[in-house]
């Protein structure tokens, strides 16, 4: 008995994959000027952040982290712990690499906030739009990175600009989701009350809804930062220098010690950024509860 038909799929779509390749190539040639502009803007943003970071003497940054952590957590020993962790990165000789990595991450987070915050607010106003955009957000987070990185490299070249783009695509999603969610979960009666007292929709949004949603939005910022951190090594595979490249070098050479050292530095940065922003979340919660 021939049972092939049970297991073989009956038909195959004739997709012309080469046409897609050619389209991407010709697109990259046709709009070269436009892509070059974006590339320059992104590169300038990263360089700008990097030069600001480089302008700060190392001990000032350490002291700053100690004070901020102390103020946020209310415990001096936490501040000292984070400061000591930061000093460890410097002692491992990874200070300037950390700046390079940080400047890519901060650039991505800034862009994520610029785009994610308004989009999230927009989505909170319309259920239909929300339904439409949700699969797009899912795609952004689950599409294997290299699938869109190869075209991105065609358009923007190798290095930091495509790294910022890849990181942003991945990290903007929690910002959008949590802004949307934060505004949606506000008590309807609160919004109604604000409107009843004569505020316009805009006033209600800025003065009532956004402050109410602030803890959730701050969680979004925190998640965006963490997502951006998780892209550090991936982006080094498209030539973004920094700690990620150090990890990649170590991993590719099976140098476990070097990998562990640079990996630890990535973890330290992530932990400090996470705790500082989480502290902000808690502060914003306390404030809104108190009011």
């Amino acid at each position: 008995m021939d049972t092939e038909w049970l297991y073989d799929f009956p038909f195959k779509l004739p997709i012309n994959l080469e046409a897609i390749d050619d389209a991407v190539l010709s697109l990259s040639i046709k709009f070269e000027g436009f892509f070059a502009l974006i590339k320059t803007l992104l590169g300038d943003l990263v360089n700008f952040i990097n030069s600001i970071l480089n302008y700060i003497p190392w001990f000032i940054l350490v002291i700053l982290v100690v004070i901020v952590a102390w103020r946020i957590s209310g415990k001096i020993n936490k501040g000292i712990l984070y400061g000591a962790m930061l000093v460890l990165i410097g002692a491992l000789g990874l200070w300037s690499l950390m700046y390079e990595t940080l400047s890519i991450i901060l650039a991505s987070v800034i862009i994520s906030l610029i785009f994610g915050f308004p989009i999230g607010i927009l989505l909170s106003t319309s259920d239909r739009l929300d339904r439409l955009v949700r699969p797009i957000l899912d795609t952004m987070q689950t599409m294997p990175v290299f699938v869109y990185l190869i075209p991105a490299m065609m358009f923007f070249g190798l290095g930091k600009p495509p790294a910022v783009i890849a990181t942003t695509v991945y990290a903007v999603v929690p910002m959008i989701r949590l802004t949307n969610h934060g505004i949606r979960q506000i008590d309807h009666e609160v919004v109604e009350a604000s409107l009843a007292f004569g505020s316009t929709k805009m006033q209600s949004l800025i003065k009532v809804q956004i402050p109410q949603a602030l803890p959730t939005i701050m969680t979004g910022v925190n998640q965006t930062l963490m997502m951006a951190m998780s892209m550090v090594v991936t982006t080094s595979m498209i030539g973004a220098s920094g700690l990620g490249m150090e990890v990649l070098l170590a991993v590719n050479r099976i140098e476990m010690g070097r990998g562990l050292v640079s990996g630890t530095a990535v973890v330290i940065i992530a932990v400090i950024l996470d705790r500082l922003t989480q502290g902000l979340v808690q502060r914003s919660e306390v404030k809104t509860d108190g009011e």
């Binding site: 297991y7 990259s28 290299f146 190798l158 590719n252």
Partner: protein
């Protein structure tokens, strides 16, 4: 009633499945029918092609089945030393820092050289030096011949992230040649006005070259032969000092052709497989043969196995070199089936 239909359906599906299992995959016949060889697939074209050639022969003559384990170069090499991968058809010995030590320690068995007539180094597109009237590209660096000539052209190969500096794409981080190239970059003083840019991955490096070439822009990048990329694009290898075995590791001379070896794991050797190992020990191709096959594949869009069969038909004398006479005949019959 509904329940009964459900049960009947289930019985039907199960019995069909059982029948299906019985008539499932066909296994080749021969003394090693059902034994599976796991080849390393480190990601590039030529290794997959050689896997297909060796796998097809193993299947045709002895009835092995074969599959590939994919991963990066260090991961697959690690797999070979631990016996998770049986055979490695293309070990670029210079790209694995621990190769000599691991070989000396008996972590795997080196069988022979697949090819050792390849080139690697810094390439630039031919139109950068000679121009291309057809595409309307003027020669932007007409006097570029040696690697150190790059120093005169930082503006031709600009680095966007560092204004005023040029960019030369180095090798993949972690490959031994990356260290050699970096030393070479320092040795010739290119660090004065050039950035040694690590592309991070093979995909990124190939994309950098491809997009520059398609746009007709200058690019200076490390690459190696045999690859589809250098088969497809007309690139020129920048010259260097003649090869000197004592100093090339310091980047002072050109690099020798890399010895690309074939190896099997200790486990695979211990499990018998003498005939297959004897065949792999004699397996030898060349950079040219490999490039031709890859170009055929690129042109016709056929898969690796079909390309391997085409290759063996075109070069049937190789079968006589690699196999015992009766096995070679058996393989030729298999190909003509």
């Amino acid at each position: 009633m509904k329940k009964l239909v459900g049960i009947l359906l289930m019985v039907g599906i199960i019995s069909l499945t059982l029948v299906g299992c019985g008539g499932g995959k066909t296994v080749g016949d021969g003394p090693f029918a059902g034994v599976e060889i796991k080849f390393a697939d480190a990601g590039w074209d030529s290794i997959k092609f050689h896997n297909a050639v060796a796998g097809t022969i193993a299947q045709g003559v002895w009835g092995y089945s074969w599959s590939e384990v994919s991963g990066s170069t260090p991961v697959t090499f690690q797999g070979l030393t631990t016996g998770e991968i049986d055979a490695y058809m293309e070990i670029w010995t210079d790209n694995i820092a621990s190769y000599k030590d691991d070989l000396a320690n008996g972590m795997f068995h080196e069988l022979g050289i697949n090819f050792d007539d390849n080139y690697q180094g810094i390439y630039v597109p031919r139109y950068v030096i000679e121009g291309d009237a057809e595409r309307g590209i003027e020669a932007s660096a007409p006097d570029l011949k040696y690697i150190w000539d790059l120093k005169n052209y930082p503006d031709v190969f600009p680095d966007d992230e560092n204004p005023g500096m040029g960019r030369v794409y180095g090798a993949i981080p972690g490959w031994e040649v990356d260290e050699i190239l970096h030393k070479k970059y320092l040795h010739y003083g290119l660090d004065e006005n050039f950035i040694y840019f690590r592309p991070g991955s093979e995909a990124a490096l190939a994309t950098a070259i491809t997009s520059a070439y398609e746009k007709g822009e200058p690019v200076a990048a490390y690459y190696w032969e045999p690859t589809w990329l250098l088969g497809k694009y007309d690139m020129v290898l920048l010259e260097d000092e003649p090869y000197n075995p004592d100093t090339y590791l310091n980047g002072e001379t050109e690099m020798p052709a890399v010895k690309v070896t074939i190896a099997v794991s200790n486990k695979f050797q211990d499990d018998g497989n003498e005939e297959l190992i004897a065949f792999l020990s004699k397996y030898r191709t060349s950079s040219q043969l490999t490039s031709d096959a890859l170009a055929y594949m690129q042109d016709t869009g056929s898969n690796y196995v079909d390309t391997a069969k085409w290759f063996l038909n075109e070069n049937s004398q190789l079968l006589d070199e690699w196999l015992e006479p009766e096995d070679a005949q058996k393989m030729k019959d298999f190909l003509n089936k």
